[in-house]
Subunit: 420 residues, 2 copies
């Protein structure tokens, strides 16, 4: 079964909103063996939407549409669905109840435009929206499936998980597709390719298995994809390739799948009953933000400080003022003193720190933009690592790379992975 | 002139990577009067790429392609471009020099697969890539333009800004398109629509002007779009609608265009020579991360602390232990004590704080997940605001909403906007 995903909205075409729905939907469809082979985005106008519907429904088994279901005048998806399936609108009582319930929860009365959202195309089946006022719809015709969902990501996600995916799981036939992604950091794409070597020695080109290198500022992901007759065979094929890749690039692989580095580090801290505190300068709170994205992080995260000024480094962390004077705030001694300072102050097992030049200004020939020192301190040792990131990605990318590098140092230290 | 944007990459179709390039390219094309009316995503396979090229080049004046130019075996865009334009590959000497330069900067020698990236389709013109090893290409045929760029966002962005946009500016004809977005926060879409009232009283339906409501967890954006004969007329039309909207929804509009709330707050602090310190519990560093995303934020941002445990709230911020015992850590008195504590400790003009339940666990009937107290303290007053966010978006969305609400409170306090 193949699918096309259609996103509707002028805000997408003019580049105001980044489309995260397509990636989410295709990932979920994949999990039930449906492969998306095209994604299309069109604006809020009848002709383009109709063309996209015709084109998609004539060439794919499944069409998933999002967007244009809001209460305001610019949302026309529902009317075009009526036209495409030659039907009209009726009130869906369950959707109307849902709208009233949502407004009552907020102690508000629904307006007319909100109540009108309970109108759904007659020949469709409504998909209830527990998180918002716009119902989705679903129609089955000529053994094909046409789903319409709101563009609001969390509403769409709930419909995918609670209705669309369970529904398709029941209908599913054909080959099983499985993917596994191994996430690496701290190594460039071409060097990683070199370490892995000739892929034809890992699997044959006609085995239905592929390997892709996906670079990003935070690291290169290795995606293994397999097609097989059944789940057991698919999992076996994936696992064979995974084992070989893990042998060849062991120290760089920090996780597989959707797992983030902060999840891995959090898991390690929890499992080993270690506590962490963080002293950030150039990363400005981003490391703590990532650490605290993990539910339950309060078990191992003691406290964080963001010491932007020299005074706060001295006052909050006990960094010696002569070290700042002699070596500068962006230096090995200051990074080390920050990591040790936050660790002892908060009586944590581990302290980490960052101090660097995120730019765009503040760089010099000796200390260019992108230079970051990362400090690490535990009860046995205190040390610091120098990183020089490319400054061309800008301030935010430098912050993100520095935070990633700090978390990776933490991971390798906890796991006692020796330095290269 | 109309455009289609084609993104190539299996990683996009399986939902592993969110496509940010399409939004960026369409926004830039818009700025020179080129309207994107379709975006298509296909995988790394010859047939689908060729179909997309044919379809796009036959119906649009401009085709912008990204992705599949990397050094590894899964990147086939270059070969398909050769097939589509019936040409072969030659070495582009400038690109080869560039590859050698980039490797020399890193003190590395290029591998064969890196040097091969200097091969470009013979009938195309190379677009140099200062930030990476893969050159782009460009071909003009039948008064149409076909651009191919790398999928790595910052490399593509540099090519758009340094080559594609200046090039198109020279070719441009036709109507001028302009957009303006007004960003609001703290009001739901339907209530904002109510405040704005009948849009036909603001502009007529056939005036070439449109208004769209774009909701997100951080607020609703109002996008005004106009088409006009010339720039002066377009700007006049935009400005008229803007003035009316600003009158109707004044207190909720914090910025226009790409400006973020942290930019606005940072500008206000700088202009008024005020300093800020931040004490975060449930937002875990996110407010400080946003504040420090702004270049030059060290001028007004003193220091931040992330006090996750009760002990650190008491020890770092001087929150009275009886307040935590009597009212709980998520309460008005604790939020106020945190804001006042960080302000006095760091001798800042303003202190803000957050304490709440980000979930998914830790909620109760009395204090459900999504309950956040935001504290504010300056030399004249210390107070706190209660927020109850919908818990359905999950932990990260709650953190983001709480950080946004805290920054908005800061903005309204600095501007002395009275409470509703």
């Amino acid at each position: 079964m193949t699918a096309e995903i259609i996103s509707i909205g002028d805000e997408l075409l003019i580049g105001q909103v980044i489309n995260t729905n397509q990636a989410y939907i295709s990932d979920k469809l994949n999990s039930v063996g449906v492969f998306t082979d095209r994604m299309t985005t069109v604006g809020d106008n009848e002709k383009d939407i109709l063309d996209a519907f015709k084109n998609a429904f004539s060439t794919h088994d499944i069409v998933a549409v999002t967007g244009g279901l809001g209460p305001t005048h610019d949302d026309i998806t529902r009317e075009v669905v009526c036209k495409f399936f030659d039907t009209d609108l009726i009130v869906d009582e369950e959707s109307l109840e849902n709208i009233k319930r949502i407004f009552a929860q907020r102690n508000l009365a629904p307006h007319k435009i909100n109540e009108d959202q309970a109108l759904v195309p007659r020949s469709c089946t409504a998909i209830q929206n527990k998180l918002g006022t716009a119902p989705g719809y679903f129609i089955q015709k000529n053994h094909k499936f046409f789903f319409v969902m709101p563009g609001v990501p969390y509403e769409m996600k709930a419909m995918m998980n609670e209705f669309v995916i369970p529904f398709l799981q029941k209908q599913k036939t054909g080959l099983v597709i499985r993917h596994l992604t191994l996430k690496t950091t701290g190594i460039a794409e071409s060097f990683l390719a070199e370490k892995i070597g000739d892929i034809n020695s890992i699997f044959s080109p006609d085995s239905g298995t592929t390997l892709a290198f996906l670079p990003s500022p935070l690291g290169v992901r290795l995606r293994i994809s397999v097609k097989a007759e059944n789940i057991a065979q698919a999992e076996k094929n994936i696992s064979e390739v995974e084992n070989i890749l893990r042998k060849k690039a062991c120290r760089y692989i920090y996780a597989s799948g959707d797992i983030e580095l902060e999840d891995v580090v959090g898991g390690l801290l929890k499992e080993r009953r270690l506590t962490l505190s963080i002293a950030e300068s150039c990363t400005g709170g981003l490391i703590a933000d990532r650490i605290t994205n993990v539910p339950g992080s309060s078990e191992y995260f003691d406290c964080g400080v963001i010491t932007y000024s020299n005074e706060s480094k001295i006052y909050e962390l006990g960094v010696p003022s002569y070290a700042i004077k002699k070596y500068g705030a962006v230096s090995r001694p200051v990074a080390e003193a920050m990591a040790q300072g936050i660790r002892t102050k908060s009586a944590s097992d581990i302290g980490i720190s960052t101090t660097g030049i995120a730019g765009p200004s503040g760089g010099s020939a000796e200390k260019p933009v992108g230079l970051i020192w990362i400090g690490y301190s535990d009860k046995k040792e205190t040390l610091a690592f120098k990183m020089q990131f490319n400054s061309s990605g800008g301030r935010r990318i430098i912050k993100e790379r520095a935070a990633q590098a700090a978390l990776e140092i933490l991971r390798r230290k906890i796991l006692k992975i020796p330095e290269e």
